[in-house]
């Protein structure tokens, strides 16, 4: 994308007036998207993005400049300006790059931009018609497809000179069921780290059926009761509870400034001893995986919690400087418009030994949260919330009637101690996590778990 001599000049210019680390991130991305409403293709778009971000660090201070203009003149000017705002005790030095290393975080078989839009449109039509046909009360469907091919180059004043290819494809189906004045939805959005073969391999009919089934079930469901109950949380997207309740508070962006409820607690029991939690960017081909992070650091598997004891944090370069340690490959960003910071990748509660059936059978009364929507958290207080999109009452150890409109709230550090059962059915679900450095693809995951007591917000006042 830029020749090494020009990059060396930029990195050197970025240290002219001050700074102890300089970095160039160049990105070229092609992407396409289509959407269909009620089976009719309503929009389709294809585009190119191209930009560069230059970062200079001095201790824990950082300067980040970004632009679409890749001319050498502009980049040298931006680099010098970045350096100027850190101009204390300049220690200018010449940067020379190591031989280039090419990573392949994605290993696509069929590049998605090489596939005709017509082929993608056919998948959306199939999904829509299948969901519509599921039940007479399915009144609307929407489906969409998106892909991207991104090539990045990162070089820094430590000599790192690397490229990477990231390719992702995603399919979404949303079904709406109408019963009188009541409308409810069901939704799935699986994503793949790879080429078009991922979408081709998806069981589109099953996903459409499942989305429609949830919509129909929820349209017929009564409101969820409110109060504090035991809640059994289903595998897969249920992992959003760990993501919100704990994961964000283990990121160096909040731990490093002492703002996290988990700061200073390494080696301490922060969860019940049935909980082992991991963030693993090295898993081959997973949605949140990468061979190098967005700061050219080769990532490690991060054991966050082992048998309830806090073992580690997610650390980017600046976080490492604040915490007096080394980065462990958690530096991520949406694109060149964001400076990187510590983020999750594939984050999950590890499998235990119980079956889902045993856990439900051992719960005399409570709620089974089968599918989740998103949520959010304040890492300083640990207060989190997340929405349940498919839920059932548990009565006498058996799944009973469906209930709709539930939200779970609590404090992460308290919930972790209240997890009392962990199943053996670990699964991942794909999401886009939004934080300081934009939206990045992350997997949430867990087996079926039970929380002994949590606040459930529903519309029904009594049981």
């Amino acid at each position: 994308m830029l020749n090494p001599i020009v990059i060396e000049r930029i990195l050197t210019a970025a240290l002219t007036y001050g700074g102890d680390f300089s970095e160039v991130y160049i990105e070229r991305t092609k992407s396409s998207s289509l959407s269909a409403v009620n089976g009719i293709i309503e929009s389709a778009s294809t585009g190119i993005e191209l930009g560069v971000g230059i970062r200079v660090l001095k201790g824990i201070r950082s300067v980040y400049v970004f632009s679409n203009d890749l001319s050498e003149k502009t980049l040298i000017r931006l680099a010098e300006n970045a350096s100027r705002s850190l101009s204390e005790n300049p220690e200018a030095r010449h940067v020379s790059l190591n031989p280039m290393i090419n990573y392949h975080s994605s290993k696509p078989i069929t590049l998605p931009l090489s596939v005709a839009q017509k082929t993608k449109a056919d998948i959306l039509r199939l999904a829509s018609s299948r969901a519509k046909a599921y039940h007479e009360i399915i009144t609307q469907t929407s489906s969409s497809y998106s892909d991207m091919e991104r090539n990045i180059l990162i070089a820094n004043s430590e000599g790192d000179h690397v490229t990477d290819q990231r390719v992702r494809t995603r399919f979404m189906i949303d079904a709406v069921a109408t019963l009188g004045e009541e409308k409810q939805t069901g939704y799935f959005a699986p994503g793949g780290n790879g080429g078009f073969e991922f979408v081709e391999s998806l069981p589109i009919e099953t996903l459409a059926d499942d989305a429609a089934r949830i919509a129909v079930t929820m349209a017929k469901a009564g409101p969820c009761p409110s109060g504090r109950f035991p809640v059994v949380i289903g595998n897969g997207f249920g992992g959003v509870i760990f993501h919100e309740a704990c994961g964000h508070a283990l990121e160096a962006s909040s731990v490093g400034i002492g703002a996290s409820v988990f700061a200073g607690k390494l080696g301490m029991q922060i969860a019940s001893n049935v909980v082992t939690a991991i963030d693993d960017p090295t898993m081959a081909g997973e949605w949140g995986s990468f061979e190098m992070d967005d700061e050219a650091v080769v990532p490690e598997r991060h054991v966050l919690i082992q048998d309830g004891v806090l073992k580690g944090y997610l650390i980017d370069r600046i976080g490492a400087r604040r915490m007096n340690t080394v980065p462990n490959g958690a530096g991520r960003r949406q694109n060149y418009k964001f400076a990187p910071t510590s983020r999750m990748s594939n984050t999950f509660i590890d499998a235990g030994s119980d079956t889902k059936e045993q856990i439900i059978a051992d719960t005399p009364f409570g709620i089974y949260a089968a599918n989740m929507g998103g949520g959010s958290v304040d890492p300083s207080t640990g207060e989190f919330n997340f929405a349940v999109t498919e839920a059932y009452m548990i009565r006498d150890g058996k799944l009973a009637e469906p209930v709709r409109g539930a939200t779970l709230i609590g404090k992460g550090h308290e919930i972790l101690l209240n997890i009392d059962r962990v199943g053996n059915d670990r699964k991942f679900s794909q999401g886009m996590c939004g934080s300081y450095s934009g939206n990045v693809p992350t997997n949430v995951g867990q087996p079926t778990i039970r929380v002994s007591e949590i606040t459930v917000g529903g519309q029904k006042d009594d049981l």
Partner: protein
């Protein structure tokens, strides 16, 4: 502190002039350029400085009746053929029954005042001093304030331009300054966070002491918070929380959602859908908002519209396509979310019209109930299609018309369509939420009867 954003007119002119050869009967370019600086302060240092200059454009062209889209951040020969080829491929897969059409432009557009040359002259030193002074004032406000974890000051300029082969030629430029500062306090083992936000164009009106007080008091006032018992409560929803709730459900007014069956407002024009005191409007400009709109992303002039008057639904928000389907005129709400987006529908300044009472008189009228200051998790806990919401919230217990003690770890749930019918009183404190583009939403505080609270 910034050069003007260059619109790449030679590239645009050549692209439009070559589009007929590529098979387009009409075509259009939407350009968007942005420059920004952002300062982050932590522990009395500028820990992060960001500066950017980016731009991109969208091409859309009509071929065999359908409008295909493509976009680029590169303006060269290669990009030109990419745009034409991809837009053509995309138009070929579309099946819309009422396809998009282009617009030749209005004779006149309402004037807007979205650019302050004085603000544009402010320099790095000014911004740094303001940001450092604000952190200092928050930290010194009270010994229980232990940290300001997030303090950002951002200045941005945005330019948009629309050109098409029918002669449409619209430009606009705005600048805006925003300041956000959190605060974290600790007392008796409890940690609470709060924040303040300022957005505007007249930097000289930034009152550091007042902002510091807002952020610090926001967190300090939460100390000692505890849940309340589950049950039905009357609620005064603070203006900002009410604006957040209206934001989550603003899509119900989109004619596109109505026509496709995604809005429960379908078929309800002329019906009484809300209580007598509910007026909802969408105005291209409003003195309490910080951004006004002269035209939408299709070049249609914005207008002032009454969507709900005294509880009766009068209109939806339209773009040219949905207006053609319904046989009405576009309301000037055909907006894109940027050059990567296609024409959709968004409000300009959408708001609950204010009443005449103060927030305090609403609390007195309620007498006993809850004052909800924040609704949390709206992106997940509110279902725009069903109207159901179940949200984490924070506020105060209200006893005998006064805020008694802070409340946290509770949820409020209900249904937005039912809530519209349960609004009993509307205060005079209209507040517009900060937003980066079209879709600025505002509300005054509202008194609402009978919301379900889940707590102890």
């Amino acid at each position: 502190m910034s050069d003007r954003i260059d619109i790449p007119d030679p590239f645009i002119d050549q692209l439009l002039s070559r589009s007929p050869i590529a098979g387009f009967s009409e075509s259009e370019v939407y350009f968007n350029g942005q420059e920004s600086v952002q300062i982050q302060v932590h522990e009395r240092k500028i820990v992060s400085f960001e500066s950017s200059s980016t731009s991109g454009l969208s091409f859309r062209g009509r071929s065999a009746q359908q409008m295909g889209y493509s976009f680029t951040e590169v303006f060269d020969e290669g990009a030109e053929s990419f745009l034409l080829e991809k837009a053509r491929e995309n138009s070929d897969v579309l099946e819309t029954k009422e396809p998009e059409t282009l617009f030749e432009g209005e004779k006149e557009y309402p004037a807007t005042d979205n650019f302050s040359p004085e603000l544009d002259k402010k320099d790095f030193d000014y911004f740094s001093k303001t940001a450092l002074a604000l952190e200092d004032a928050i930290l010194k406000y009270d010994p229980r304030i232990v940290a300001v974890d997030d303090l950002f000051l951002s200045y941005g300029i945005g330019t948009q331009a629309i050109r098409n082969t029918l002669g449409l030629n619209c430009d606009s430029t705005h600048n805006i300054l925003s300041v956000y500062a959190s605060s974290r306090c600790v007392a008796e083992g409890q940690t609470k966070t709060g924040f303040c936000v300022w957005i505007g164009r007249d930097a000289d009106t930034i009152d550091i002491a007042a902002l510091a007080k807002e952020s610090a008091e926001d967190s300090l006032s939460k100390l000692g918070a505890a849940p309340v018992r589950s049950g039905k409560y009357s609620v005064v929803l603070d203006a900002r929380a009410a604006a957040d709730l209206l934001t989550a459900f603003s899509g119900i007014f989109s004619a596109d959602a109505v026509q496709k069956g995604f809005s429960l407002l379908a078929g309800k024009i002329g019906d009484k859908i809300a209580s007598e005191c509910v007026d909802i409007r969408d105005d291209g400009s409003h003195p309490a908002s910080f951004l006004s709109f002269s035209f939408d992303s299709e070049g249609v002039a914005t207008r002032n519209k009454q969507l709900i008057e005294k509880g009766t639904l009068l209109s939806y928000l339209h773009n040219r396509k949905t207006a053609a389907t319904d046989g009405v005129a576009s309301t000037g709400n055909g907006f894109r979310s940027g050059y990567k987006g296609s024409i959709d529908i968004a409000p300009t300044n959408l708001y609950f019209a204010p009443g005449k009472s103060s927030q305090n008189s609403l609390l007195k009228e309620m007498n006993n109930g809850l004052f909800i200051k924040y609704l949390i998790g709206l992106h997940a806990g509110a279902n725009e299609i069903s109207g159901d919401f179940s949200l984490s919230c924070e506020g105060f217990l209200v006893v005998d018309g006064r805020k008694d003690r802070p409340v946290d770890q509770i949820t409020v749930s209900g249904n937005f369509f039912k809530l519209l019918q349960s609004v009993v009183a509307v205060a005079d404190d209209l507040y517009f939420n900060p937003s980066e583009g079209a879709g600025i939403i505002g509300s005054p505080s509202l008194l609402i009867e009978g919301l379900t609270i889940s707590g102890e």
